[in-house]
Each structure stands twice: as structure tokens, then as C-alpha cells.
């Protein structure tokens, strides 16, 4: 792609927002802390939202039950980290990382497996019927949430961070929590992997082509349904990963967390344009930054700020910042 063809305007939104609020916040060190926190939160939201936006773009399936996989991932992480207590307690960074990585792996596997079942039993019978999809996936999420309550109990469970990831680095006056840097790093790795898969592999090519024009890809002889199952499972697994990171970020998990994060994700993919991965990244970063800035400046309007952000973006580009053609 030629550099001149790239649509730079949405990319500029993120730094623009960050620079605009600097005078409002005043102190640069507070601003830096908030910005890093916002980027970390945005990266986690992106990990969760990327799967959902692809599922929608590829198969026109609107999955309102995506939040279930977030909660599932987080709850699996509490079990895994709880079982690896001597790893999380130890001060050695590599043992902490090993614990968190295995928690992530197990959470992704479980969320992916449940995603496979969810696709088979909940989503597949209602392809092409938006109304029913919304109703059914909503019902699926409620069932899942209740089953989580059966297994782990309805109460809030603490998800303490491993020793080595606590504390913060001092950068001048600004305190930056270590975990937030880790979250940003993981998010970047996921984004890089996704971008590479989508841009450089055959599967990615098919996915992108399917998002643009499903029928054409099918008529060329590719089984887009099978591809879709794969995307759904990967999307669920990513939501599980995001759930682990979100749980560690909040340091506690509740069964209702899926529904809470769901709202944020919807805002993100509407801002980004349904089906667009790059748009989801921009939307997620904007939402993450906005949530942290308004949480500092005016906590009471924090949730409304995201809706206002969405309204503003949609007034500018009614299909989201990166509209996917043919939708």
C-alpha cells in the first residue's frame, strides 16, 4: 500500500486527544500516568474487541455474548494463579511470568473451547437473522454467567497480581505501574500478530476478502463457514486472554464483568467501524484514554464521556472511523 493512500486522520485522533487534555490536567507527571493507564486499558479492550469485530465483519454475526468469554478467562485465571501460589508469591520475575503465561494459556484454551461450543449450539442455527442472533447470544451469555456462578460462586473473587508485577517505575515525577507497561506490551504483541496474520498469510487474505465480499470468496471455492468457526474460536480465545488481563488490571473478578466490559467493547467497535481491526485499535485507545482522563477530571460523567466520544465520531464518520466496504 502506498503511504499516501493511508487514511491518517483517524490515526491522529489518539495523540490529538492526549495533547488536548494536557492543559486541562495541568501537571505533566499526572498526565503521563493517566496516559499510560489509558493506553494499557485501551490495549486490553482492543484484545477483547478485535475478535468480535472480525466475527461481525466476516459473518455478519452480532455476538452479544462476547462478554461471557471475558468473564470465563478471568475466572479460569483465578483458579490457575491460585493453584500456582508459590510461583506468584515468589519475587523472581521469571516465575511470575511463567504463572501468568500459563494462566493466559489455560484461559485462552478454555475460552476457545467454549467458543467452539457456543458457535455450534448458539450461533450456527441463526445465521443471517440479526434479530434472533441478538436475542440468542444474549440468552447464551446469561446462561454462561449463571454457570460461572455455579462453578466459582456468585461473589467477587480477588485476583492478586504476582509479586514481581506490582509496584511502579518512577519516570521523573510520574509513577507508572509496571503492570500497565506489561499490558501495553502484550497488546502490541497481539496487535502485531493479528496484523501480520491478516496482512501476510493466506488465511488472513481470505478473512479480509471475506469481510469485504463473502459471496465472492465462497464462489471461488473457499468454505467461509469453516474459516468463520476458526475466527470465532480465536476471537473467543482472545477475549479470554483479555479477560485475564482485565482481571489482573482490576485485581478482582465478578461474574457480571462480562456484561460490564461488553458495553465498552460495543462502543469501541462502533467507533472503529464494524469489521475493522485497525479501527478497533483506535477506538479502544480512544476509549481507554477517555475513561482515564474523565475518571480523573470528572468521575461522575465517566461513562457518558465514552458515549459522547462515540456520538462525536459517528457525526464525523457515520460508519465508524474505518468503514468496511459493502456493509
Amino acid at each position: 500500500m502506498n503511504l499516501r493512500d493511508v487514511d491518517w486522520k483517524p490515526l491522529a485522533l489518539v495523540p490529538l486527544l492526549a495533547v488536548l487534555v494536557l492543559p486541562l490536567i495541568g501537571s505533566p507527571s499526572t498526565w503521563l500516568t493517566l496516559t499510560v493507564a489509558g493506553l494499557a486499558m485501551g490495549m486490553i479492550i482492543f484484545i477483547i474487541a478485535s475478535g468480535l469485530t472480525l466475527v461481525f465483519g466476516l459473518m455478519d454475526v452480532l455476538n452479544f455474548g462476547h462478554g461471557l468469554f471475558i468473564a470465563l478467562g478471568a475466572f479460569v485465571a483465578t483458579s490457575v494463579l491460585g493453584a500456582m501460589g508459590d510461583y506468584t508469591q515468589s519475587g523472581a520475575m521469571w516465575r511470575n511470568l511463567l504463572a501468568v503465561l500459563s494462566a493466559m494459556a489455560v484461559a485462552m484454551a478454555v475460552a476457545g473451547a467454549v467458543g467452539l461450543a457456543f458457535e455450534r449450539f448458539i450461533v450456527r442455527p441463526v445465521y443471517g437473522q440479526h434479530l434472533k442472533q441478538i436475542l440468542i447470544t444474549m440468552g447464551g451469555m446469561i446462561i454462561g454467567e449463571e454457570l460461572i456462578k455455579v462453578v466459582w460462586g456468585p461473589q467477587q473473587i480477588a485476583l492478586p497480581m504476582p509479586e514481581g508485577m506490582r509496584g511502579s517505575l518512577l519516570l521523573g515525577d510520574a509513577a507508572i505501574e509496571k503492570y500497565r507497561l506489561i499490558a501495553v506490551a502484550v497488546g502490541l504483541v497481539v496487535f502485531a500478530l493479528l496484523a501480520w496474520t491478516l496482512a501476510r498469510t493466506k488465511v488472513g487474505l481470505l478473512i479480509r476478502a471475506g469481510v469485504q465480499d463473502r459471496e465472492m470468496v465462497e464462489s471461488l471455492g473457499y468454505r467461509i463457514r469453516r474459516l468463520f468457526v476458526g475466527v470465532f474460536v480465536v476471537g473467543s480465545a482472545l477475549a479470554g486472554l483479555g479477560g485475564v488481563m482485565w482481571g489482573l488490571y482490576q485485581q478482582s473478578v465478578v461474574p457480571q464483568m462480562g456484561a460490564q466490559v461488553n458495553v465498552l467493547i460495543f462502543i469501541v467497535i462502533i467507533i472503529g467501524g464494524l469489521g475493522s481491526t485497525g479501527g478497533a485499535l483506535i477506538g479502544a485507545l480512544l476509549v481507554g484514554l477517555m475513561a482515564n482522563y474523565t475518571g480523573f477530571l470528572a468521575p461522575k460523567v465517566a461513562l457518558f464521556s465514552n458515549i459522547a466520544l462515540m456520538v462525536a465520531v459517528l457525526l464525523w464518520r457515520p460508519q465508524g472511523v474505518y468503514p468496511v466496504t459493502n456493509r
Partner: protein, 355 residues
């Protein structure tokens, strides 16, 4: 006469007609047929849900758009009554002010949400309403100076509607005629009027256009109907009816808080009732509401019995615990969307076609 009242929309099935008449008579004579405080509360809840669900059906069943903000308008109605009577005392003018304020707030809010999100894409509407409803719920529990926060507001209603008002010493047919009874009948009349009004709306030329949009948006636009205008009007109307239902709830409970009128569970209940009763039929909401509210009020008791019976199997007992009733409701919901897509009314109207 009947023709005009029902707006020419007869049940079109003998069984359905019998059930509807039975429900009508049952609700009309509920205080005399089913004495007791719990039974009367269940009957009042049925009345409120009939209106709430019928108004939701105008949006979901007739216009074909999914809104998750319906409980928000329900809550606005309930909070309108609650806030006004807390501030101005238990007078009729307070009720009027509360209802008027709530209706205008709902009007503005639904107009804003509708014009904004229905313009873009119908599919956005579901997501945007979900976000707005979540934000509103947070707001209602944070503005504790006005709404009472998480604790909610307890308030008094005009004397004639309160339980302490007892004009007659003698019980009538074994039932004491008190303010509670008057309140029930006020709700009953309101519910009947509102449901008939909704029947009028969906059977008017306007309602036909809505159904045309539901069936084929592009064709409706091509014939010359402004789809956005019709959709927005439909969502505003449905919001106003939901506000009325919320006001009825507040009047009956004499209390309102975030969990009673704004919780997401009520939204789920609405969805479930619409699906069970039959999408796109106002009558369905009446049948669904009766089935659902009665089941809900007694399902937890049933689950408790089941849970105790299965005490020897801990996992089964955990599944059957009364706290997990939403699990069974969710399963019921998914199964009814699959196997029962036309609901009770659809089944009764065309028993052969659905087989």
C-alpha cells in the same frame, strides 16, 4: 363497538379468545377471586408487565428493532413519580407533575437516541441503547441527592390509594375495600386503556408502515416512506408507553430504586415475555406476562424444593438452587427462540402452519 375497541384486530382463534377473556376477567376480579396480599401483588405485576411488554413489542415485534434501553424509560417513569411525590408530598398534583416530567424526559431522550442511532444503522441501535442504558443506570445510582442512590426512594401516595384508607367498615364479598384495592383498579383501568391504545397504534396505517419496514426496509423506503422518521416515532411511542408502565409500578410499590425498575434483569424478562407470548402480537404480551409473572413468582419456590430434593448430589443441588433461577430462564429463552419462534399466539393462530 367491540370492533372499534379492538381496532378490528380480533384474536382470530377461538382458544386464544377464550384465554384472553379469561385473563381479562381474572385480572378484573383478581382481588375477589384470589384473596391475599401476594396474589394481589402478582396480579398488579401482571398488569404492569402487560403494558411494559406490549410497548416493547411495538418496537421489537412490529418495527423489528432491538432496544436494550426499554427499562431505562420504565425507570424514568417510576423515578418521575418517586421524585415528585418525595419532593411535593403525596398529592395528585405531584403525581401529575412527576408523570409529565417523566414523559417529557422520555420523549426527549428517546428522540435523541432514535434520531441519532437509527439514522446510522438499525444494528447500531441495539448496541447504542445498551450503552446508554448502562450509563443511565450508573447515573441513577450516583445522583443520590435526587434519586436516593442505591437505597432508592420510599414515598407516600395520595391517601385514597394508600392501604390505610378504608371508607367502608363492612367487607364486600369478604374483601376489605381499602385504598390498595382502589390502586389496583386504577392500574387495571390504566392497563386496559394503554393496551387498547397500543392495539390502535399497531393497526393504524402508521402501524402497517412499521410492519412494512420490518419486512423490507429498502422496499418501504422505495415506496416513499421515510424509514428513519417512522422508526424514530415508533421508538418514541414505545418509550412513552414504557414510561407509563414505570409510573404504574411506582404507584403500586410506593418505592423505587435502581434494582426495581432499571436492572438488566427486567430487560431480559421483557425479551423473554415477548418471545414466549409471540413477537408482533399485542395479545401475546398479555398471555406472556401472565405466564411469566406467575411462573417467576412461584418458580423460585419450585427450585427450592428441587434443590432440597437433590441435596445428595451437590452439583445438581447447586444448579437447582433458587438463586440460579435466571439460568433456567435463560435456557427457556434460548429454547423458545429456537423451537417456539412464533410464541403462544402464533401457535394458536396457525396450529398447522407452525408444525
Amino acid at each position: 363497538m367491540l370492533n372499534r375497541l379492538l381496532s378490528n384486530d380480533y384474536p382470530r382463534s377461538k382458544v386464544l379468545a377464550v384465554i384472553l377473556v379469561a385473563i381479562f376477567i381474572g385480572l378484573a376480579l383478581a382481588p375477589f377471586l384470589f384473596p391475599g396480599v401476594k396474589a394481589l401483588s402478582v396480579a398488579a405485576k401482571v398488569l404492569i408487565f402487560v403494558v411494559l411488554v406490549a410497548s416493547f413489542d411495538l418496537l421489537l415485534g412490529y418495527t423489528g428493532i432491538v432496544s436494550f434501553a426499554h427499562t431505562m424509560f420504565f425507570g424514568i417513569g417510576a423515578y418521575g413519580i418517586a421524585v415528585a411525590t418525595t419532593r411535593m408530598g403525596p398529592t395528585w398534583s405531584a403525581l401529575a407533575v412527576g408523570l409529565g416530567g417523566a414523559l417529557s424526559l422520555s420523549l426527549l431522550l428517546s428522540l435523541a437516541v432514535g434520531l441519532f442511532s437509527l439514522r446510522v444503522r438499525a444494528i447500531f441501535f441495539a448496541m447504542i441503547t445498551l450503552a446508554v442504558a448502562a450509563a443511565f443506570q450508573t447515573l441513577a445510582s450516583q445522583l443520590s441527592d435526587i434519586t436516593g442512590g442505591e437505597d432508592g426512594l420510599s414515598f407516600k401516595v395520595p391517601e385514597i390509594l394508600s392501604p390505610s384508607f378504608e371508607p367502608f367498615d363492612e367487607p364486600f364479598l369478604g374483601v376489605t375495600l381499602d385504598g390498595r384495592l382502589l390502586c389496583y383498579y386504577l392500574l387495571f383501568v390504566l392497563a386496559v386503556v394503554l393496551v387498547l391504545a397500543l392495539l390502535r397504534v399497531v393497526n393504524s396505517p402508521f402501524g402497517r408502515v412499521l410492519q412494512a419496514i420490518r419486512e423490507n426496509e429498502f422496499r418501504a423506503e422505495a415506496i416513499g416512506y421515510r424509514v428513519v422518521v417512522y422508526r424514530t416515532t415508533s421508538s418514541v411511542l414505545s418509550a412513552l408507553f414504557a414510561t407509563m408502565a414505570g409510573a404504574m409500578l411506582a404507584l403500586w410499590l410506593r418505592y423505587n430504586g435502581p434494582d426495581t425498575s432499571l436492572s438488566f434483569e427486567i430487560m431480559m424478562d421483557c425479551l423473554l415475555i415477548v418471545v414466549i407470548g409471540g413477537i408482533g402480537t399485542i395479545y401475546g404480551s398479555a398471555i406472556g406476562a401472565v405466564l411469566f409473572v406467575v411462573a417467576q413468582s412461584y418458580l423460585q419456590d419450585l427450585l427450592r424444593v428441587g434443590s432440597e430434593a437433590a441435596a445428595s448430589l451437590p452439583w445438581l443441588s447447586a444448579l437447582l438452587s433458587p438463586d440460579r433461577w435466571l439460568l433456567w430462564l435463560g435456557l427457556l429463552f434460548v429454547l423458545s427462540v429456537y423451537y417456539f419462534p412464533t410464541g403462544v399466539v402464533g401457535r394458536l393462530r396457525s396450529p398447522r402452519a407452525s408444525r
